[in-house]
């Protein structure tokens, strides 16, 4: 789960990481007096808000109100801005980059730092980035901080502050079950303070049970995706018009890929997961229907559950709520002949292979 900048900065404060003074507002009317000058920043979970006009500056309450009014309601990369963070404008001397993330390949936390802050870290040449793993079973060690100081080459007073911030970030990274804690830019002000200019924090969804304080709606979900999440169904809305439902993440992706290679485009990624619960199958189909597909393509590999059991669940789901669009069904596994008969009797188009299923779905869509 990604945190908004203001939420991430609240967590920073808890760990003693310096952040600019600020407050979050959701309308121009919320703006009272300001300690001028200020920056007004759109709160969105996607990057590139600066270029999209999501950051403005103000020197008095009137300007701040106008900036908030302009920013709230604007759309950045398809996401509507609902809140803005008003905070003290920093007198920037220097900008650095610093982050902790999980390095999957190394199975260890990775510290990255660079003197080239304030830009996308992907655009910084590798030689200008310090990359150093934190031994997972041992944790932060002094040599890592020495490396950080050496790479950044700051004068002692500043280096001390950065070193302290880095250690607090790592503490937070572990204690909050974060996938990513990133400060870009970490601002060194002209008067020698070191302050988190921005904050990107992602908390591991799997660890949410021990961090109930983060329980809230994610902004980057469509209403249908939110409904699916509440029901515990893995569902993603895509921009095609063929509704894809399959079991297992890999098989669902492979079905979408196959559809694409046959000239179609998937409108949903719906991973049914376990297939032996008729209620869940029913819920999944209801959800799929709400996405208004022109054709439905179902691809089930029976696994341990027998195919006729799955087919009965699907049949009941469609009896409860008829599909109104053609359903191409491919089902493999034990008792698949019986399953095919059940699906055919229920008005679906049974096929044998994934490729055939994709071809048939594309053909029916074209009608």
């Amino acid at each position: 789960m990604k945190l908004f900048e203001f939420e991430a900065k609240n967590v920073f404060s808890k760990y003693g990481i310096p952040v600019p003074k600020g407050a979050v507002v959701s309308s121009a009317a919320d703006v009272k007096e300001i300690a001028s000058p200020v920056a007004v920043k759109a709160q969105v979970l996607v990057g590139g808000r600066g270029k999209a006009g999501g950051i403005k500056f103000a020197t008095n309450p009137g300007e701040a109100k106008k900036a908030v009014g302009d920013i709230i309601g604007m759309s950045i990369k398809g996401y509507k801005v609902r809140q803005a963070l008003i905070e003290e404008k920093l007198d920037v001397g220097k900008e650095i980059y610093i982050s902790f993330m999980i390095d999957r390949a190394a199975r260890a936390p990775l510290l990255m730092a660079s003197t080239m802050g304030g830009v996308d870290i992907e655009s910084v040449p590798d030689k200008d980035i310090l990359k150093i793993h934190i031994p997972p079973l041992i944790g932060m060690q002094p040599f890592i901080i020495r490396e950080l100081r050496r790479k950044l080459g700051l004068e002692k007073a500043l280096a001390d502050q950065v070193a302290d911030i880095a250690q607090r970030m790592f503490k937070m990274f572990k204690a909050e079950d974060a996938e990513l804690v990133e400060i870009n830019p970490l601002v060194i002000t002209k008067d020698g303070r070191v302050v988190a200019g921005d904050a990107k924090v992602t908390i591991d969804d799997n660890a949410m049970y021990r961090h109930k304080e983060y329980a809230r709606v994610e902004q980057d979900l469509t209403p249908l995706e939110k409904e699916a999440k509440d029901k515990g169904i893995a569902f993603i809305q895509l921009d095609g018009d063929i509704g894809v439902i399959a079991n297992g993440a890999g098989l669902t992706m492979a079905t979408l890929d196959t559809l694409n290679k046959k000239g179609g485009k998937g409108g949903t990624f719906l991973d049914l997961g376990g297939t032996d619960d008729p209620e869940k199958v029913k819920e999944a189909f209801e959800l799929l229907m709400k996405a208004n597909p022109k054709v439905i393509l179902m691809n089930i590999f029976g696994g341990i559950t027998k195919c006729d059991t799955v087919a009965i669940g699907v049949k009941e789901a469609l009896e409860a709520q008829p599909a109104k669009v053609p359903v191409v069904a491919r089902i493999r596994g034990l008792h698949e002949e019986e399953a095919k008969k059940i699906l055919k009797d229920a008005g679906m188009v049974p096929v044998d292979t994934m490729e055939e299923a994709a071809e048939e779905a594309v053909r029916l869509r074209g009608k």
Partner: protein
């Protein structure tokens, strides 16, 4: 020979009294796996499908000489269960459980490695050496003993690939799911190492997907280290960026982990990449 698991493996089921634990204990035993013990704190003395239940892993190991463990306990208790197994001297731990916190896995994996214990998973269907033993939840009937080693990041997609291989008369030495999470135990490179050494294995299949760099690392390893023929499939060519596609590990982040990059890496080192999952058998 098969890898990691064979007919001599003595399996312990952690969480044996739960619904999944009971169901799969029977399924594994029906397949011929030697399931020798189970654990479930507070339930010592009970039996599941004739298998004795113990309170603690150390006790179970002392009584039955179990050397392999399969874990069905809920995610919040998984780290504890794995460490208990490692401390008791188990050599291979298969973690079926989904949604284990990443930071728990950051503790589990290096610890297991330091203790020289192999981990499979989490979020995996497990491991099967067809005709010998199964330590997992996969449907047994699609597998056939043979000479192809399979490692995959996915469950049902593996069944799809394997069923097509079996239908074409192509059996398997060992099939394992590396797991759908970002931090996993046995990965592609480690599996390749095992399959390269294994006498029964003649060819190798990798089933990858978007997210991370396991496929790219596998490609680098294959060049110069693997003499056996390798074929691959990569799922997620049409997956949008920054979305988790069902698996916690299946996500394109900051432009990294795309299917294109993985396919390119494989093709560069001469690994044939199947257009459709069913093509794998033909490519071999």
């Amino acid at each position: 020979m098969a890898v990691l698991l064979d007919e001599n493996s003595k399996v312990l089921v952690q969480g044996i009294t739960g619904h999944q634990g009971q169901f799969h204990t029977k399924a594994m035993m029906d397949y011929g796996t030697k399931v020798v013990a189970g654990t479930s704190p507070g339930k010592a003395g009970e039996k599941v499908n004739g298998v004795p239940v113990f309170d603690a892993v150390a006790e179970a190991v002392a009584a039955t000489k179990a050397d392999t463990s399969i874990i069905f306990v809920p995610a919040p208790f998984t780290k504890d269960a794995v460490v208990e197994s490692i401390e008791a001297g188990i050599r291979l731990v298969v973690i079926i459980t989904e949604r284990v916190p990443f930071h728990d896995c950051l503790d589990i994996m290096p610890y297991a490695r330091a203790k020289n214990v192999a981990i499979i998973g989490p979020n995996t269907p497990g491991i099967i050496s067809p005709g010998r033993a199964k330590c997992g939840i996969m449907p047994s009937h699609i597998f056939k003993r043979g000479s192809v080693g399979v490692i995959s990041r996915s469950g049902t997609l593996t069944y799809e690939v394997v069923a097509a291989m079996t239908a074409a008369g192509m059996g398997q030495s060992t099939c394992m799911g590396s797991g759908g999470d970002p931090i996993i135990g046995t990965n592609f490179v480690e599996a390749l190492e095992l399959f390269e050494e294994d006498k029964q294995t003649e060819k190798i299949v990798l089933v990858g997907e978007i997210g991370g760099t396991a496929e790219e690392e596998a490609a680098r390893y294959i060049e110069g280290n693997v003499t056996k023929k390798v074929a691959a499939y990569v799922a997620g060519l049409t997956a949008p960026p920054e979305k988790r596609m069902g698996h916690a590990g299946a996500i394109i982040q900051r432009g990294m982990g795309t299917a294109e990059s993985k396919i390119k890496a494989f093709e560069k080192v001469g690994v044939k990449v199947a257009k459709y999952p069913s093509d794998i058998a033909r490519l071999l």
